[in-house]
């Protein structure tokens, strides 16, 4: 990746007074990539985006875009355009003048400019909207105008600051698909800021999960979900069951652990992540966290045969959600409940009002071992 990095964020820091908003962040983003910055509010993702746009200066480190250092380049000279969180549509201009705003310097003939605006309106599926006033637009339309206004300038990078946050759920899901299709059509690099993990997983090629100004993990959506590297990422992305555990041995077959509530279990040995040497696994006796996703646990009314990894418990509460059901299971020796998510493909696997014993089973390959937090 480093050889062809299009945006290169190197050891960037940002202080607001004494508060450190960005703490030594380094990220390489490739050409044409859909890259997301994901985190809760206040994690520094928007600050980082505003630094790419040039609205905030870096306190340390350097940002390169297309090989050029950006420190001394003001916002209006940068090869990036931004879609603002509230869209920042110019309220005193109509749709056509909003979209054509950035074309003043291009000194185009009136007819040519008109043509370009019509093309953009076509692209964002709002043909014939040119004469509408800014205050006659719905949220979804404003979002598209903001996109068109940026894309008409053919930027090398498009920055998007929670552009779907203000839309209702249905419109948001529709716009996610359109945004992804649009990114493939225009082929430019998108840097997308969101606090919505589902949105980030749906849209992105790669995601940087941020917290307290640092990058916790930078990975593909699958990588983040299946092999989170620490407890914070694991609990931020989706739902995760955690178990205190102690390593009893490491071998070629994987890691042997003694986990609270689960007993003796086995977990696969994984790489430490890109860039690090293959992990030889935690030392015997080390305290770790074992994590299993709710949908990787299987619930049955009878003990599973064939020596599969399993444990006995009791359903404490359950919720029927239509396509799936959620169960919360009490295990001996564990002070919190274990969440199980079961698809209702052939009916509810067990009654949601069941009072008798149940068995949880899982594939050892889906067990994730995390450092103790």
């Amino acid at each position: 990746m480093s050889g062809q990095a299009f945006i290169s964020i190197r050891q960037v820091e940002k202080y607001f007074g004494k508060f450190q908003a960005i703490d030594d962040v380094s990220i390489e983003i490739g050409h044409g990539e859909f890259f997301s910055l994901l985190g809760a509010s206040g994690c520094g993702k928007t600050t980082l985006l505003r630094m790419l746009a040039g609205f905030e200066a870096t306190s340390g480190g350097e940002i390169f875009i297309d090989g050029q250092p950006m420190s001394d380049v003001p916002p209006h000279m940068r090869p990036v355009n931004m879609v603002f969180q509230n869209y920042a549509i110019f309220p005193h201009l109509n749709v056509r003048d909003n979209i054509a705003y950035g074309l003043r310097k291009h000194r185009l003939a009136r007819a040519r400019r008109h043509e370009m605006v019509e093309e953009m309106l076509e692209l964002i599926k709002l043909p014939g909207f040119g004469d509408r006033k800014a205050n006659e637009l719905s949220g979804g339309q404003r979002q598209r105008i903001a996109l068109a206004r940026a894309l008409i300038l053919k930027p090398k990078v498009l920055l998007l600051d929670e552009p779907l946050g203000a839309l209702d759920k249905q419109l948001r899901e529709q716009m996610q698909l359109e945004l992804r299709a649009l990114q493939r059509t225009v082929g430019i690099t998108f840097v997308f800021v969101t606090h919505d993990q589902e949105e980030a997983l749906t849209l992105s090629d790669r995601i940087a999960v941020m917290s307290r100004g640092r990058v916790l993990q930078l990975d593909t959506p699958t990588g983040l979900y299946e092999t989170p590297r620490n407890r914070e990422v694991a609990s931020f992305i989706g739902t995760m069951n955690f178990f205190d555990a102690k390593v009893s041995g490491t071998g070629a077959a994987g890691i042997e652990l003694e986990a609270a509530g689960l007993g003796r279990i086995r977990a696969p040995l994984r790489d430490g992540g890109p860039g690090s040497a293959p992990d030889s696994g935690p030392a015997p006796g080390a305290r770790v966290q074992v994590a299993i996703r709710p949908e990787k646990l299987e619930l049955s009314a009878t003990p599973p045969g064939g020596g599969a990894a399993s444990v006995e418990g009791r359903v404490e509460t359950a919720a029927y959600l239509g396509e799936r059901s959620h169960f919360f299971v009490r295990l001996d020796g564990l002070d919190h409940l274990v969440a199980v998510s079961a698809q209702n493909r052939e009916g509810v696997p067990i009654g949601t009002d069941r009072t008798g014993p149940v068995w949880l089973s899982w594939n050892p390959a889906s067990v994730v071992v995390l450092p103790d937090a």
């Binding site: 746009a53 609205f55 916002p75 355009n81 920042a88 549509i89 950035g102 003043r104």
Partner: protein, 273 residues
């Protein structure tokens, strides 16, 4: 439902109080137009009869016209200058992190509460020390001091009322600070600018104390009125003149406030979904 809720319920004594308050505030002023149409030299009841005579006399008097022109010239120059300075001050105050912003705004607003006679005397001393002859220019200079706070107070809510991300969007789309100001900032605050022009014009037009200290041989309209009070036979014409000034001031300020209604319209529209 809402009309008898706890907050919105009616309170008869307070309503009566409010009406009495407005009467006490404005009835004295209403005596001016009332007596300006009275067919008598003396301001006393009972009224004699209706006449346009006093208004007619005004139009035949050359000094009234020249005083009016003096006031208009000063008012026009002062309103344009103080509004232009107000735009820059309001932008600086609302957009940049200025050390000592609070005291700075306080100093701009101070002339509203300091007795004008103090500014009048101070400016007179300063100008005579510098050897500057008193003229319409010196009156305009004095009026700048009292008009700037009005301009700034009118414009600050306009600047605060629209989201700074709209200016950032302009920069992001390739426009530098100069073009952003002309293409985005100024159009957005335009209603405030018009309101400020009208308000500062009326403030300058009506001002007497500074004009009294700082004018040379050419009087402004309020000074002319003051000068004519010595002549009892002129008094009804002065009432007619004062009535017209009140009517014009009211209309100008009302139009200004109407244009500037909803100072936060930019923000409201920006957040609309």
């Amino acid at each position: 439902m809402s009309s008898d809720s706890y907050i919105k319920r009616k309170n008869r004594p307070l309503q009566v109080y409010a009406v009495i308050f407005l009467i006490v505030l404005y009835v004295p002023v209403l005596f001016l137009p009332l007596f300006s149409f009275n067919d008598s030299l003396y301001v006393r009841f009972p009224l004699k009869g209706f006449t346009w005579q006093w208004y007619g006399e005004l139009f035949e008097r050359e000094p009234v016209w020249s005083a009016l022109m003096n006031s208009i010239k000063i008012g026009a120059a002062v309103s344009v200058l103080s509004t232009a300075m107000g735009v820059f001050a309001a932008k600086a105050i609302t957009r940049y992190r200025i050390p000592g912003r609070g005291p700075l705004v306080g100093f701009i607003m101070l002339p509203l509460v300091v007795p004008l006679i103090i500014f009048g005397v101070a400016l007179l001393v300063l100008l005579s020390q510098l050897g500057v002859p008193l003229s319409l220019y010196t009156v305009a200079l004095g009026h700048m001091i009292i008009c700037l706070p009005f301009a700034v107070a009118t414009l600050i809510p306009r600047f605060e009322g629209f989201d700074k991300s709209i200016e950032e969007a302009s920069a992001d789309l390739g426009e530098n600070a100069w073009w952003t100001f002309w293409r985005v900032t100024l159009p957005m605050v335009l209603p405030g600018v018009i309101a400020s022009l009208m308000l500062t014009f009326t403030v300058s037009f009506d001002e007497f104390i500074l004009a009294f200290f700082l004018s040379g041989t050419q009087p402004t309209l309020p000074m002319y009125i003051w000068g004519q009070l010595r002549f009892p036979q002129e008094f009804p014409s002065i009432l007619a003149l004062a009535s017209m000034i009140i009517a014009m001031s009211f209309i100008v300020v009302f139009i200004g406030m109407w244009i500037n209604r909803g100072a936060s319209f930019g923000a409201v529209k920006g957040d609309e979904t």
